[in-house]
């Protein structure tokens, strides 16, 4: 919100306080000044210049060489504006000044060979408007050399304040002035009413009826007759332009002025256009097409609260007036609406229509219901003063259900407990009084106060404590250097994730963080997705059903950027729809998952080795190392199957007992094609919640082996259809328990041994924890094993 400091000074005396201090204190009391412009600084050195002569530029058709008098000397200035003429007073930026637009410093330059000593400015260069069609021409009566900050009254400080949603009272100049009066302990001066009324009773000119009493608790109005619509006087136009508003006419400008002065939105109706000279506040019983005063036709849903006359709708209550009753050049008599609307009702309308105005913004946050009559009167006074006309006698004030003011108890001890320090009672009372919070009772250790209606945010003791703290200054609250901590219930839900990250990094994986919002087609690859009801774009309209589908665009991106050799991982949540309607947590599933992806070269071409590509066994190996590192090796019982499905050409699953909690494999081409990837990709994804349960078991130390190990090797020719795991399992099961491990050390296939055969060579490791094994018993076991393998698989022992 834009605030003019000069305007503020109409209500509070800030003499002797620097702009910097005002800015700092406002920010430190909760009205954050995001930015401010000191116009005296902004226009420093820029002056009124008199154009004494205009000559053609010898080298450019569109340029002229002007002689500009700066009050002391004549200066040669090159100008590009078509409207520059001899005898004009212009805005002149001499050498050394800074043009506000683009913060450009003026230097002596040659333009097409001609020296130029400054610039004659256009409106946009001064940030006074958008016009760049020509230079600004000033009044003739100004004398050359006058600072334009004086000549054009550009001597204000404009603040940009961020008002939090709890502070509707601060959405006006008086509101900000009230805080300043409390901060600097100065008097707040509310403008006094001073106007004459005609003999004509307002009740004979107009009437108001409220049908929707819940959403419109109060409707006040004044009538002014016989006015002349014209331009506003300079002081009013000036005030509005300073805060970025465009002056329209004297009546509309006054309503805007009151909104920014008091925070009370007003609406002026052309009384003669109101059928039956009547206002009725009611909600629509059916949908309606309605043209608002911005000339847009809008479809208003049933239930929208409207201001109507005797026959038809004339305004969307609290949001925007209708074209059919707006004030025009021919308007003579007006009715000024000053109402209090229910914030919820206005917010709903504004949201539904996607129409936010200065009025709706204030109503939905909560205006001051006590201020409606005053605002209407003040508007009437100003309109009568600048537009002529007479103010009808009396005021219409429909206020069927009086809003009750809140009384709150405030305990000094509670404040000390919550803030950690003590504020003196006298100071508390002073702060309350400055904010308009009146003391009802002083009960020694506690106070009873009544909350003014302009502060709907103050409802409880905690709110009052905040008021004291922010005006006294948060910097007064001490910084405790000793804290108590809780010793029990210490835990970290992310322990496992951190462990996984550590292992993945050690194994050479880079971590990704991908956006879970993805396009529909992608999300449907791996599950039934959940749709975002109000997405930003179709590219982010669904939630990911697997980490894979949100990661493949990343893989594709990297390959395109030339990073083709990739080992990446991600830990994140995936979402799956279980029911059509999402009404409870049981209707969908959110799971934390781990994803590993490898693609491209495992080993690039090097002086010590040849290059090699990642394959499915690299993926398996990495996963095995991974699980062993996070102590899952002893609970894992993996199974690998060649299932072809719509994601994988071949895949394996990882199981614990009967529970499958992860799957991986080589991604099939149609999936890769969706993401525009042209190289084989291997991926693995598993469920971290199941993982979490499995990894809960504690690792126990096992004594180091005291006795020697004995090794034996053998190789067999097998039928090709017999798989490795079957053989390995059989070997372990067929031998006695002195055989501890079986390792495949060679796989060999060739024409010589036959196309339907393969040779598998195993290394067997024998030992016992309690004794040294003899060669004889190992040989015996080994020999028995050879016989059993030969017999079971019809295999042929090789070599030896």
């Amino acid at each position: 919100m834009k605030i003019s400091l000069n305007w503020i000074k109409d209500y509070v005396n800030l003499d002797g306080i620097s702009t910097e201090e005002i800015v700092e204190k406002l920010t430190m009391s909760g009205l954050e000044v995001e930015d401010y412009v000191d116009q005296n600084k902004k226009y420093s050195g820029i002056i009124v210049g008199l154009v004494k002569d205009v000559q053609k530029h010898p080298n450019a058709d569109k340029l002229t060489i002007c002689t500009v008098y700066d009050g002391k000397t004549d200066l040669q200035v090159v100008c590009g504006a078509p409207n520059v003429q001899k005898g004009q007073n212009v805005v002149f930026a001499p050498i050394g000044t800074v043009i506000p637009k683009g913060e450009m410093e003026m230097k002596k330059v040659k333009i097409r060979g001609v020296e130029s000593n400054g610039m004659i400015c256009a409106e946009d260069e001064l940030e006074l408007g958008d016009d760049h069609s020509g230079i600004m021409v000033l009044n003739d009566d100004l004398s050359a050399g006058t600072l334009i900050s004086d000549a054009l009254k550009l001597n204000d400080v404009l603040l940009e304040i961020a008002i939090t949603p709890n502070r509707p009272d601060a959405l006006s100049h008086i509101g900000v002035a009230r805080d300043l009066s409390a901060i600097f302990n100065r008097e707040l001066r509310i403008p006094k009413l001073d106007f004459q009324e005609s003999q004509q009773d307002i009740k004979q000119l107009a009437s108001v009826e409220i049908e929707d009493k819940i959403n419109c608790p109060r409707y006040s109005a004044k009538v002014v007759t016989g006015i002349t619509i014209k331009e506003s006087p300079e002081w009013l136009q000036n005030k509005l332009t300073k805060i970025g508003l465009r002056p329209i006419n004297n009546v509309v400008d006054v309503t805007n002025f009151i909104l920014h002065e008091l925070g009370q939105p007003l609406h002026a109706f052309d009384l003669d256009l109101l059928a039956g000279k009547k206002i009725v506040v009611k909600s629509l019983t059916e949908e309606l097409k309605f043209t608002t005063l911005d000339s847009k036709e809008r479809i208003l849903p049933k239930g929208t609260m409207m201001i109507c006359d005797g026959k038809r709708e004339v305004a969307i209550a609290g949001v925007m007036g209708g074209e059919n009753s707006e004030v025009t050049e021919s308007t003579k008599n007006i009715l000024i609406e000053s109402a209090y609307f229910n914030p919820t009702s206005i917010r709903r309308t504004s949201k539904k229509l996607q129409l936010a105005t200065d009025s709706s913004y204030r109503f939905e946050r909560g205006t001051d219901p006590s201020n409606t009559v005053f605002a209407a009167q003040r508007a009437a006074q100003l309109i009568a003063a600048i537009a002529g006309g007479e103010i009808a006698k009396g005021v219409i004030d429909e206020y069927p259900i009086k809003l009750k003011q809140n009384e709150v108890k405030f305990r000094l001890a509670r404040m000390k407990k919550l803030l950690g320090y003590e504020v003196q009672k006298a100071d508390v009372i002073k702060i309350f009084q400055k904010l308009g919070i009146n003391l009802l009772k002083d009960m020694g250790e506690s106070l009873e106060v009544i909350i003014p209606t302009h502060r709907p945010d103050i409802e409880r003791e905690a709110d009052l404590i905040e008021e004291v703290a922010r005006i006294a200054g948060y910097e007064k609250i001490p910084v405790i250097e000793k804290v108590s901590i809780t010793l029990h219930k210490r835990k970290d839900d992310f322990d496992l994730e951190d462990k996984i990250r550590e292992s993945a990094v050690a194994l050479g994986f880079n971590e990704m963080v991908n956006n879970p919002l993805i396009p529909e087609a992608d999300s449907k690859v791996t599950g039934i997705p959940i749709e975002i009801a109000n997405p930003q774009s179709q590219d982010m309209a669904y939630l990911r059903t697997s980490l894979l589908v949100s990661a493949l665009p990343t893989i594709s991106h990297n390959i395109k950027k030339g990073e083709k050799d990739i080992a990446v991982f991600e830990i994140g949540n995936v979402f799956e729809r279980l029911k059509d309607d999402l009404n409870s947590f049981a209707d969908f599933e959110e799971k934390k998952k781990l994803l590993l992806i490898i693609t491209g070269k495992k080993q690039s071409r090097q002086w010590y080795s040849a290059e090699s590509d990642y394959d499915i066994f690299d993926l398996k190996g990495l996963i095995n190392s991974f699980f062993s590192k996070i102590s899952l090796d002893y609970v894992l019982n993996d199974s690998y199957n060649s299932i072809q499905n719509k994601i994988y050409d071949y895949q394996f699953t990882v199981n614990f007992k009967d529970l499958t909690f992860g799957a991986g494999g080589k991604l099939n081409k149609s999936v890769l094609k969706m993401f525009d990837i042209n190289q084989p990709v291997f991926s693995f994804e598993c469920d971290l919640e199941i993982f979490q349960k499995l990894s809960g078991e504690r690792r126990v130390f096992r004594d180091l082996l005291k006795y020697p190990k004995v090794y034996r090797d053998f190789a067999f020719l097998f039928e090709k259809s017999i798989n490795y795991t079957t053989v390995k399992k059989f070997i372990l099961q067929a031998s006695t328990d002195i055989l501890k491990s079986v390792e495949l050390f060679d796989l060999f296939e060739s024409k010589e041994i036959g196309d339907d055969k393969k040779s598998l060579a195993f290394n067997l490791e024998y030992y016992d924890y309690n004794r040294t094994l003899t060669d004889e018993e190992v040989d015996k076991d080994f020999q028995t094993l050879i016989n059993k393998v030969t017999e079971k698989f019809n295999a042929i022992l090789r070599g030896k």
Partner: protein
């Protein structure tokens, strides 16, 4: 066989063993004298041909020879082995080392981890919570009434009337307090979503860490102490800080914490919008209405809460000027950290 011959062999051997300076040369000497067909071994074969009283004499001589030669050989061998250095001329040590791949954690999870470690040191536990939340946890129980403009502070992605993508990690506070009784001392890191236009400064999702402490005597002064300690550990000492009033529906009083801009050291720059201050987090005393929702007695218990955005912190700390780069996952970016 003659004694002189034995002596000559011994003398030849002594000469050769003396000359041998590499293990290769020494091996040649061993083969020549001590192998199965070596000179010394052969002499024992000849001994079989000798008869009579000479046999024990020569036997003894040969045994002595073998002992001396073996000893001499072993001595030399150990000398050579202990003196043996790599043949430096044959190794080009300037060749590059054999590369071993090492991965990297995403800079966001690194930053989260760092923040988490600091708060764990200050006695906080760490809790997780769902990203797909109900309106109740995300808004209502945090004192955002329906149709309240405070909801505009957080543009929300909805998936149904009742469910949405959480806009902050604060709902986890409610989930913890529903299950546990005070004292509660916890932080809640996680991912959040906002329906905001994507630009270099804002993205549709980001990460936050929320914190809460509830006990019988928790004050704003303690909140200040804890957060100042956090900031000193994270940003280093030597900055100024300020707590400035703000508004969050779930805290009262509420504040934002600023620290001296560490780009310009408080002089004013583009990053701090010429104010000299950088906002690093929001905080406040837990609103009594929030305690009502979890059935805590707000007369008995007080608490503080705080929350901060991770991307913003990481961007400032590492000089990253476009938030989108975090989620592009370009390996050239990931490998930098």
């Amino acid at each position: 066989m003659q004694r002189s011959e034995i002596e000559r062999i011994k003398s030849d051997f002594d000469h050769e063993i003396e000359k041998a300076s590499t293990s290769g040369e020494l091996e040649q000497v061993r083969i020549k004298y001590l192998s199965r067909n070596g000179i010394v071994t052969k002499l024992f074969d000849e001994l079989k041909l000798i008869s009579g009283e000479d046999k024990p004499v020569f036997g003894k001589l040969l045994n002595n020879l073998r002992t001396e030669v073996t000893e001499s050989f072993n001595n030399k061998k150990s000398i050579i082995e202990s003196n043996q250095l790599p043949d430096s001329a044959s190794i080009d040590l300037t060749l590059p080392g054999k590369g071993i791949k090492i991965g990297s954690r995403h800079i966001l999870t690194q930053t989260l981890f760092e923040i988490k470690s600091i708060f764990k040191g200050l006695g906080f536990s760490v809790y997780d919570g769902p990203e797909l939340e109900s309106d109740y946890y995300n808004f209502e129980a945090l004192n955002f009434p329906p149709d309240h403009p405070a909801r505009d502070m957080q543009d929300t992605f909805f998936v149904s009337d009742k469910f949405l993508l959480r806009t902050h990690t604060t709902p986890v506070q409610i989930r913890i307090m529903e299950k546990e009784q005070p004292p509660i001392r916890a932080i809640m890191p996680g991912r959040v979503y906002r329906n905001e236009a994507i630009s270099s400064r804002s993205y549709c999702m980001f990460h936050q860490v929320d914190g809460i402490y509830v006990d019988t005597d928790v004050s704003f002064a303690e909140l200040k102490g804890t957060l100042v300690s956090f900031a000193e550990q994270f940003y280093g000492v030597g900055f100024k800080y300020r707590f400035r009033p703000s508004f969050f529906p779930f805290t009262e009083p509420s504040a934002e914490m600023d620290i001296t801009c560490y780009i310009c050291k408080g002089k004013g720059c583009r990053v701090c919008k010429h104010s000299g201050w950088l906002e690093i987090l929001g905080c406040g005393m837990v609103d009594p209405n929030v305690f009502k929702y979890v059935n805590y007695d707000s007369e008995k218990y007080t608490g503080y809460a705080f929350g901060m955005g991770i991307e913003r912190i990481a961007m400032l700390k590492y000089g990253i000027d476009d938030i989108r780069i975090f989620f592009e996952n370009d390996l050239r970016f990931l490998k930098q950290f």
